[in-house]
């Protein structure tokens, strides 16, 4: 009847990092924000057939104040760019950005005066999902990759673009 036998039933040993990352990963709320074609595939991903709720992400938050993940779904026009920047700045830390589709990642087929050639010119992007538009499976793969990244983060060293240094 040593101590070791009792521990697995009642106590779990972990680090604070792991726990914080686990909770961040498992309830990552995306900003309900669609720009163009990819937004429809994004809704499909949240919809019944693909069901993103499996990863604890079914709540789309219309307000940036309550969101953790910004999915830039679609082409970013020059007129829209300042608004996306404002939305990003309004999101509380920690926050992540997923650039969905070719247009958001690099301008895509629209290499012209009206489209920002990649949303990474205005806000930092964590994950790029290629495709025009990406299939819902691709988007989910991107989100899972992002979860893997979040798993490796540490609260001791928050990222610089969040505005506070560790």
């Amino acid at each position: 009847m040593g101590l070791e036998e009792k521990i697995p039933d009642s106590i779990m040993l972990t680090t604070l990092d792991k726990m914080v990352n686990w909770s961040r990963r498992r309830s990552m709320w995306p900003l309900g924000f669609g720009l163009a074609c990819c937004a429809i595939e994004m809704i499909s991903t949240f919809g019944p057939h693909f069901d993103l709720a499996r990863y604890g992400m079914e709540v789309m938050r219309p307000s940036p104040r309550q969101a953790d993940l910004m999915i830039v779904a679609g082409r970013v026009s020059v007129k829209m760019a300042p608004i996306i920047k404002t939305l990003y700045e309004q999101m509380p830390n920690p926050k992540w950005v997923l650039s969905m589709g070719a247009c958001a990642s690099s301008g895509g087929v629209f290499n012209n005066y009206a489209v920002v050639q990649g949303v990474d010119r205005i806000i930092p992007v964590d994950i790029y999902v290629p495709g025009c538009p990406p299939r819902p499976e691709q988007l989910m793969e991107g989100i899972l990759k992002l979860h893997e990244m979040v798993k490796k983060e540490s609260i001791k060293n928050p990222r610089e673009e969040w505005g506070r240094k560790g």
Binding site: S77, V78, S106, G107, N111, N112, Y113, Q117
Partner: protein, 171 residues
Amino acid sequence: MEEKIRQFLNSKFSDSIIREDNFRGEQSFYVKPESIFPICEALLENDDLDVKFLKDITAVDWYDHPLAENGRFEVIYNLYSFAHKYRFFLKVFLPEDNPNLTSLTGLWIGANWLEREVYDLFGVTFEGHPDLTKIITPDELEGHPLRKDFPLTYEKPRFSWNKDNPPEVIK
């Protein structure tokens, strides 16, 4: 129907019709810029022809093309007769400097946005328009994007071998 409209236009506006054209079965009448409003007004009032629909207003920029001798901009009015299910076009050529037309917003409210779009993208001004401002392009953008001398602004894609250089923009 084609003959009816031709007769109607010739009886009332014979001196404003420059020429007519039929390309691929689509009838168009080239008219003088100043007579576009009276022609549309007369067409709208004529119940027999029943031209009640203004489907579209758009423009073509003939910059650097032999056709530009008539005038650089060609503005196209797309009219539709509901009773006869017939579509025809009124076209005007406008000079390069100060292209100007009379607004049709007094006849069709729907012309409002269509004219604003032509103004925004081509720089053709419409006299008598209630709110002739930019509609689609950002306020900071100077110039009119669909003019042929406006650059498309192609930006060289960045790969791993040139990712550190600032993006090269070709105008």
